[in-house]
């Protein structure tokens, strides 16, 4: 039986940023560059990390691969992958708003 999407949550930081960057299809190296820019250099993904994480995601059918005109491999989210990203974004938003609430409390003291 296939594992439910929820069982993959919460995602690791690496996996989350990879899924996030795949909002539009990208090359492997494109993901590294995009995440670096997005986080202002806070997260520099190693290519080994990217390779293994993408492999796992492919196996769980969150992403699929295709080739562009230069025959370079491009990664794209599947419907299941999009669903996972949505759920994660939702969870992180909640986490963020909860954090804000607590921070407010702390500031008053």
């Amino acid at each position: 039986m296939a594992k439910s999407i929820e069982s993959y949550m919460p995602l690791s930081e690496t996996a989350y940023y990879i899924l996030l960057s795949l909002k539009i299809p990208r090359h492997g190296y494109g993901i590294i560059k995009y995440v670096d820019e997005l986080t202002n250099g806070r997260i520099v993904l190693g290519s080994g990390t990217i390779y293994t994480t993408l492999g796992k995601m492919k196996k769980s059918n969150f992403i699929t691969v295709y080739q562009d005109q230069d025959r370079k491999t491009i990664y794209i989210l599947t419907t299941k992958g999009k669903k996972l990203l949505e759920l994660e974004v939702d969870r992180i938003k909640k986490m963020y708003s909860d954090t804000l609430k607590v921070e407010g409390v702390l500031d008053e003291n």
Partner: protein
Amino acid sequence: MRIKWRLFWSYDVIKTQQWLSDQSKKGLLLVGFYPKLRIFKFKKTNQQSNQYMIIYDKKSNGCPNRYLIDQDYLEITHTKNYYVLKQLKENPQIYPSYEAFLNKNAKLKYIVGNILLFASFMYFMIFVIILTSVLSGSFSFEWGGWDSPDIVYTTQEIIFGIIQAMIFYSILLIILFSPFWMIYTYLKLNKANKTLEKLCGNTKTIKFTLPTDTIIDKNNLSFYKKQGQIIKKTKIGWFYSPDIAVKWLEKMEGEGFNLLSMSNLGNSFYFIKGKPKKVKYHVDFQIKKNANYLSINEENGWKLFFTSLTRYFAITVWSKEYKIDIPEFYSNIEDERSHAKKFMITYASIYIFLGTLYAAVSVLFGYTIWTIIPDHGIDLLLLSIPIFFILSTILYFYYAYKVIRYYYRVKKIFFRN
């Protein structure tokens, strides 16, 4: 309706696609495909020039919608694991990937290759044994026919005999022809998979285990060696403590010995005397390396020195020069740890298995020799076999110990310096 049979269509899918498009030029249009039966069904129409793609995909069960949305492709037919597309544009923006197809064929090639290797070793051993016994005269042929008195067989016996003969001959046929099938499969896949690898985004050319851009010309090598500019260092079995090897390589670079190339089996390193450099090395282990494994790391600035012959249980040596920030192959420590664990489990289990096997064989041999010593006396030839097995056993357990030690060293790292 025309039906055509293509037995080994999947070995070279590119050729099969070309064949389908040739059929369409003759006015035969593909309408059905039964991969298990190797049958292609055609309809007679006017001549067309169509481009086809056959995609293997275990997960999607038919073509994913995204290829059809852009109207680059039209799905002709699909089965559980395959779908056939007709290309609607000359140069589509995207292509469905052959990666799953390649993985399937590479696995088949690997299995068939290993069986062939094992079988040829066995045949060689049998050949040697027969040859030695014939030469030593302990083996002789006896010619003679069977006596055939007049026997009357019953119908039952005859039918039974025919069935027996049929079974015997079919087994014989399979035994005789499976090597041909295997050799054909291996050679065909060896060639076709290279094309598929390129179509799956592999740009690197590898000769045996070395990337072609690091291979040094033999004449140059001996010339520079004489001049003392190139030095060769050999470390047998360094694979099993990769972290120590990596530190040694980094130290060598720091002292101005820059790695130029490695030997085919990966045991030797060739350095050239140059400038001290800050270089990060990484020895990577993958249970399976995909077609884009090399290119994804190379695009990220890692230089390839060595990669294993097959795509399974692959060890690869990478390096990257840096100025200030040390580049990391695995950006988080969990990945590094699980990488080390994978490495440890694979090699420790292989070597513990081999070590135990060889230990058992040494005990067996030792015991046999012990029992024949009183009659035969001790000689070196007799003792050489158990000594060989005992030494191999020690070596295998030593390698297993080394990989386990490596894993515990990596496990202890909490922060990188």
